[in-house]
């Protein structure tokens, strides 16, 4: 897929390790547009919108955050923990706002299966439809998210 100059610059920025170690694209060779489009298609197949998904992620983070690192039950058989470190990051899409280095972990009690996202990751899904590239440490598969959160 042909990319315009803005997309090319964004692609370079997401692959570079200026904000997080190893960047946001992992070892994914697709362009950022292709990654976003593929995940949008998958989400559509799952019958879910970005707004619904991001809203549920935010709800879980907000519910777990006041416990300051302790596990909080968010649904039968599922619990969440919000872990914070000092500092904040900007969004690679280069707009105003910084995102605390806060990581939400959701765990199934029966299987110990976990998913986790950062505040920045949650924002990138909500606003940019970007779940990160395959192989990235914080890559989230839309299907896994839907299965875990709903």
């Amino acid at each position: 897929m042909k990319q315009g100059p803005d997309e090319q610059q964004l692609d370079v920025s997401l692959r570079a390790s200026t904000l997080v170690a190893g960047g946001f694209m992992g070892d994914d060779l697709r362009s950022v547009t292709e990654v976003i489009d593929a995940d949008a298609g998958e989400l559509f197949r799952l019958g879910m919108t970005l707004k619904e998904l991001a809203s549920r992620m935010q709800e879980i983070t907000d519910k777990a955050a006041p416990a300051q690192g302790l596990w909080v039950e968010i649904a039968p058989g599922r619990e969440a923990q919000v872990d914070e470190t000092r500092g904040s990051s900007p969004c690679p899409w280069r707009h105003q706002g910084r995102y605390f280095k806060r990581i939400t972990t959701v765990r199934r009690k029966d299987s110990d299966e976990v998913l986790r996202w950062s505040d920045l990751g949650m924002h990138m899904i909500a606003r940019h439809g970007f779940f990160e590239g395959k192989g990235s440490m914080f890559r989230l598969e839309p299907a896994d998210l839907v299965k875990m959160l709903f």
Partner: protein, 367 residues
Amino acid sequence: MLASTLISILVVSSIAAALAAVLVVSERFIANYGPCKIIINEERELTVQGGKPLLSVLTAEKIFIPSACGGRGTCGLCKVKVLEGAGAILPTEEPYLSKEERAAQVRLSCQVKVKNDLRIQIPRELFSIREYVTRCTKIRDLTHDIKLFRFQLVEPTTMDYIPGQYIQLQTPAYEKSPAPVYRAYSIASDPAEKGIIDLIIRLVPNGICTTYCFNHLKEGDEMRLNGPYGSFHLSDTQAPVVFIAGGSGMAPIKCILHHMKNTQNQREAVYFFGANVVREMFMVEEMRQFESDLANFRFVPVIAKPQEGETWSGETGLVTQAVQRDVKNGVPYEAYLCGSPGMIDASIKVLNELGITNDRVFYDKFA
């Protein structure tokens, strides 16, 4: 056929070479901005060669503007006021500047190119910041994801700092980061040991600097840092003190306690230090030693939720709950906080409820 192909290659090569020559000449004569003056705070004047970003020009002149990304326009931290000579705000700066900052002529110094004379304004304290070559002399595990790193200052050999301040540690280029980056860490060491900088660092998943420190840095390695930065410090009043910290937030409080010991400070002080489980609690013995060394100091370690099999006879629950149980009337107190933004917000709420007004609550969120 062969001849015409060779001629074509020759022609194309000649055009490319000519264009390259034009670029070199242009760079030399058109993009040569010559010497430019930078007037800083109306009190200091630099004459520099134009053509480079303001951030690198200032760094070359040993004036260090805090920047985490090393000047690549991605962190938005290297803000300075440029009163004259910067031209219009660039698209690369726009995302990082609020309406108020634009009105106040704030710019990203890594994006402003020095092309002519500039008048800029920077905080005075930045003049005293230096870059240090250091050697890592000790790495000590404190918990499963927190380590203490000791750096011996090599050049210059000493640093004067106010207990509570922080430095910026430079991570060199490595496999996860193609260029050096800086991250801020509070100083944890005894300020009497002017040649030593201790940092308490918690591993951040995917963090460029913490990943380097935990997985690559070895005792004996050379590292660079610059500083000191920040305004977090113990006031010189005699008000009783509440310290609240968690995790790597231990660092500046420990430094302040060393300072209190060194200056035989008799202020009443209580330090609430929180961890989720017993295995995440650390430096208890050092803090108990401060209880012996300081006449009016108490250390209150708090475990949020001891796990099965863990032995714990101290305070339990959230650190803020322990503060509520212990401090009956907060009105005379000053509070000093260090930890995650969430912990700080929760602490401020509790402290306000106890009667400690915001002008007596001090913290450095590192946001």
